[in-house]
Symmetry: C2
Subunit: 109 residues, 2 copies
Amino acid sequence: MVTFTALADPKRRRIVELLATGEMAAGEINKHFRVSGPAISQHLKVLREAHLVRVRVDAQRRVYSLDPKGLDELEEWLMGIRKFWSGRLDALERALRADLPPESKKRKP
Amino acid sequence: MVTFTALADPKRRRIVELLATGEMAAGEINKHFRVSGPAISQHLKVLREAHLVRVRVDAQRRVYSLDPKGLDELEEWLMGIRKFWSGRLDALERALRADLPPESKKRKP
DNA sequence: TGTGTATTTAAGATTTGACTTAATTTAGTC
DNA sequence: GACTAAATTAAGTCAAATCTTAAATACACA
């Protein structure tokens, strides 16, 4: 799950958010940030490897767009957690979750 | 969105996966890894700050469980991206996505 | 009150990550 | 072919993250 590593950086999340509104060339993306070109290029590489973005070559330009695969993987992980979790939640645990007074189960050390 | 930073580490993801199957004391969690106690304790702190886990005190033990808040925030971000994105997808973009021969739009530099 | 257990906090070493400038690649134009 | 534009790769620096061991804290029970 390299997806989380890729999205851990705020600039990379911002890039994904930008691309959600439409495709964009590397240089255009760069204009939205105060860092050098190479910095963005490296971020894009990380996002590419995480299958969060795709490149299309148009002359000298590289036009980036979202790749569904990365987001799908993210959602699958999340849903996997939720599945196990909701299967596990019994009445007591629901009570704890709602911050009701818990039946503190004591236990010898 | 400290959530992504928290989940960027494989050990922390594993901890969340463990807790999805039920609550667990810090020491028990530790047994699932080959690192020292303090290492796990630090990871748990990061997860707590990201609202991905909660602690319940039981005598000397700290019993950890999943916190819905962190996962909810994660899902909200994801759905926000999807919302913008699917709104943007027109016929041409769908075609590109399906890897059909794209109408390469040339453009002077 | 003293001892053992569970866990966290502190301090320091090492690795990993993000940025910069310089050099390289690729494409189009004159 | 030489020149410009767009972007990437390379190399080095600085900051942040993770791990370790040692010390501190909190609790239970004899």
